[in-house]
Symmetry: C2
Subunit: 360 residues, 2 copies
């Protein structure tokens, strides 16, 4: 098959890790007889430097015209960089919000899984993690307080700010359907997280999730308050299979969940919409402090490329091949510095990419 | 001295644990020559049963007329109880929100501390907790999305809900001042948590916190994004001293922080306003599943009573005496079932109260 992939390296370690993921995609193309056409686009700080804005309309249009987008990371040290001395809608992260909304990517899928080879990195005690956990966070990505009106005004000399959190039933329904579909192929267990004892959006969320659940009698659904979920993730993460939640809660809980795996450098993500076009990116950030040093872990981005193959191109076998290659390299004892432990062989970004590509 | 204390036992285990805290307060009164006058008020499910609403105006007025309020817990099994078959503003938790707002309690102080005797209960690995951690969460309690307008409507047959998150500078300033004051008496370190890369309320929050920080040159202040904070609490909780945040983020993060101590049955809280009147309650909930069994841990409520003595009555010595008594009882090996471990002596709610009272 032929496919058009937009590459958005972004800032910080972005270019280094995207280069390795591209290397892996090239290897897949060669081995399985596919042809990927790439176009590199600017987004984030690098786009601010080049065009004065974090994502130009032209880049957004090019992303829309592609079959899939592979992203590194955007942004820098908030507050310490020239990129943050401007209006909020001109900062690097605004590019990310703009592309999510522009591409209609309402479903953010973030697997948080404990790799058996990296069990020691988990900050939780062995008796809590048992033989590991494997959660999928399904976060709504184009609604909620992220995309309601934001306003700051001065009334009688007093500054006041307002952010509007809003959801309509269709926005909730489509992400709920995706979550139940994902759960059906996994542990058949959805935990829907909200704050229904306080928020109207959460009460609507709960009602709509219950309605959608009726079409999935084979999937168990449970509702949990967000504060409780933040506790349960630490106390008993193995109770979860698929966690379904709104944008802001998903932002917080998915980071918490990824940290309890102990290896955020390993975690991929996919942001999907109604069609096949998706955006794939590592769960971690741009790590400006280690940019350019050749030590960043490219695995999260490589695994994001695997998700790209699976979700945007339906290349399940190829996706599996990438995932297996990663596991084999880990089994062989190779580690980047962030996941290094005694007795293992430390390698840099490029070598890690090479090693994984070789195993495909 | 003489003081008027409103007791609000509430639901579930509430009455059992408040009885033990009262026992301790009585012992303090006797030993130190004070006189506490008590009035018992209904709030939560029990008030719904009695009056059809979670907190009557009369009870609120009586709470206002007291010097301090000691609360057990309100609510039951959400969804499984008759208390939740009514409109949101008639549910048990609405009583809690109403009393917080009615008493102007804008500052919620929740210490999350690892008790040295209970280190084993911490879900984090020993190398992460080191010789323990001791955090204070300062949560804004009467603003933000909790108290903005909540609305659900149907437009062209589509249900839509909206919640408004709002803060003005004065609301931020007063909680920030409290946080810096608390930090000054502790580790002199404030981490202010927001989502300034997305929310206007967070950008205002950050600006006002920086303004307040100027009056506290001896206190270090750092800003952290809420998603990052949710990670850092798990990865490196010892970096924190005082965490300052808005209402919703504080709800989530304080529960996460309390869970990483591993003993939520031990954690107290105080909700304060501009004057001396405060509301004191355990950080845990009403635990309906173990209500009436005599096994609930009363220590969080007893330690909340200690905070009551300290903040509402300026009885620092007496507060310390209660805290020391709790430590001695733990040292002597007594445990309720939730904190039980090998070689310790298991006791019930009443015995635990007796043991602590005896040590005063
Ligand atoms: C950079 C930021 C706007 C973004 C978000 O909050 O969604 C990030 O934290 C994420 O989770 O992808
Ligand atoms: C019961 C609920 C409304 C309350 C809150 O969200 O504030 C509780 O979770 C808390 O933290 O005290």
């Amino acid at each position: 098959m032929t496919g058009k992939i937009a590459l958005i390296p972004g800032d910080g370690i972005g270019p280094e890790i995207v280069a390795e993921a591209k290397k892996v995609l090239d290897t897949v193309a060669k081995k399985y007889g596919h042809e990927f056409e790439y176009e590199t686009l600017l987004m984030g700080g690098c786009s601010i430097d080049a065009y004065g804005e974090p994502l130009t309309e032209e880049s957004l249009e090019k992303a829309k015209a592609s079959d899939a987008v592979l992203l590194g990371a955007v942004g820098g040290n908030v507050g310490n960089s020239r990129w943050y001395q401007v209006a909020p809608n001109l900062r690097p992260e605004a590019g990310l919000l703009k592309i999510r909304k522009g591409l209609g990517l309402f479903a953010n899928i973030r697997p948080a899984k404990l790799f058996s080879q990296l069990k020691d990195a988990c900050p939780l005690k062995p008796e809590i993690i048992g033989d590991g956990f494997d959660i999928v966070m399904m976060r709504e990505l184009t609604g909620g307080v992220y995309f309601g009106e934001h306003k700051t005004e001065e009334i009688d000399g007093i500054r006041k700010s307002t952010d509007i959190m809003a959801y309509d039933e269709n926005e909730i329904k489509r992400i709920a359907v995706k979550a139940f579909e994902v759960a059906r192929k996994r542990g058949k267990n959805v935990t829907s997280v909200d704050k229904a004892n306080v928020l109207d959006t959460s009460r609507l969320w709960r009602a709509v999730v219950d309605e959608v659940a009726k079409d999935y009698p084979d999937v168990t659904v449970k509702h949990m308050l967000v504060d409780n979920c933040a506790m349960q993730l630490v106390m008993n993460p193995r109770q979860f299979d698929v966690i379904l939640t709104e944008n802001m809660f998903g932002d917080i809980l998915s980071d918490e969940a990824s940290m309890i795996t102990g290896s955020i450098g390993m975690l991929s993500s996919a942001s999907l919409g109604a069609g096949k076009l998706g955006l794939y990116e590592p769960s971690h950030g741009s790590a400006p402090d280690i940019a350019g040093k050749g030590i960043a872990n490219p695995i999260a981005t490589i695994l994001s490329a695997a998700m790209l193959l699976r979700y945007s191109f339906d290349l399940d076998e190829e996706a599996k091949a990438v995932e297996t290659a990663v596991e084999e390299v880990l089994k062989a004892g190779y580690r980047t510095i962030d996941i290094m432990s005694e007795g293992m062989t430390q390698v840099g970004t490029v070598s890690m990419g090479d090693l994984i590509a070789e195993k495909i």
